[in-house]
Symmetry: none
Subunit: 227 residues, 2 copies
Amino acid sequence: MFRLVLRIVADARETPSGIPELLAGKGVYLQKKSLDVADYVIGEIAIERKTVNDFISSLYRGRLFEQAERISSAYSKYLLIVEGDAQEALADLKNPNVYWGTLLALALKFDFRIFFTMDQDETASLLYLLAKQAQSDYRMQRPMLVKKPRMETTKDWQILILGSLPSIGPKLAEKLLQSFGSVRNVLKASSKELAVRGGIGEARARKIQQLLDAEYRPGQAKQSKLA
Amino acid sequence: MFRLVLRIVADARETPSGIPELLAGKGVYLQKKSLDVADYVIGEIAIERKTVNDFISSLYRGRLFEQAERISSAYSKYLLIVEGDAQEALADLKNPNVYWGTLLALALKFDFRIFFTMDQDETASLLYLLAKQAQSDYRMQRPMLVKKPRMETTKDWQILILGSLPSIGPKLAEKLLQSFGSVRNVLKASSKELAVRGGIGEARARKIQQLLDAEYRPGQAKQSKLA
DNA sequence: ATAGCCGGGTGGTGA
DNA sequence: TCACCACCCGGCTAT
């Protein structure tokens, strides 16, 4: 009797979670590797697994989106499994909107599919089913969505450069560029011009000028000439 | 002066759920319509809301995928909100795999983003956040700015600014500062000077000059500044 | 590529 | 001109 072999690649660091073992118990052909970005790979689908607590804490560490970026650029389909009692964790959260907001961003901007499981066991079942579906649908995959262009335009650089100035964020950077036309023009401008033509006030303008003209001192120079 | 208003379209049949009212309470401009396929529409995103029980019972009716098909062909992005205690409902199921399998199919084949909320209140919050995100995305996306990790000293700022130039890292930035003495002097220098005195090549130098002098072009139509 | 809050800067208003 | 104040922006922080 022919038996279908499901194949799942698991990152070596997932071993302690017990999930690889559970999968093997279900008859999956498990391949352990050292994966760069994801925790599991099934066919062309990458899976990132995170416990609720990991997920929550990564909200505040900023590392989350960077990781999401890596996965999304490496695979065409990818899903996030959040494991554990999300509801309970959510109750402890001071600001639940951050949680929901992040999920929305992951789902809509990064194109993640997100699943919630209660424990490793459920995660294993989910992966198993996924492998089964991926296998049977092998040939009837829908065409993928167009890749996001993610262009690094000149405009982005311009805003980035000005935005690295103190007390200048993206909004102000854009305003300045609109007023002055180019990065150089902004940087050439005197503080008065900055204050008059750009939408920024004298205080900020002076601060910027001082910084631009400040003499560079290697070593730990702590000239608090600002403000 | 205008106040920014979030706008959500709700199907008339959603009224009894109380969610439209909750949204209105959050200051959303709610528009009730009779929608063909979805329950809510936010920007270009369609939202189908289902209570857990509805969802579960529709597993066995087969009508679910037909509905999914209709939504997916009418909108480019769409999400499903499953409202209620999924965990509890799942415990009653004889065969949970049907549940998970359906979710997987919806997510991967139909490209649904699926969210789970506890009650109408949470659903309303989710929709509200979604509207907010959709709205801020409608503006042009801005480049991610350099992390400004607590800059105290002038020296750090100087390096950060130059480091935000293309192909200039912290190391080169420092070198340039040492050669030229101040940020302004670096930016004033011609590409030849940069190449000769700073340790960078002409190619990089030219690239930087180009960027500095590039005319700023707002990508999207900017809102006219009527006062 | 989160959301909320706070502090400070800006620019307008009206005296 | 000045004082006030409303708004906007940027920076911080959150489990």
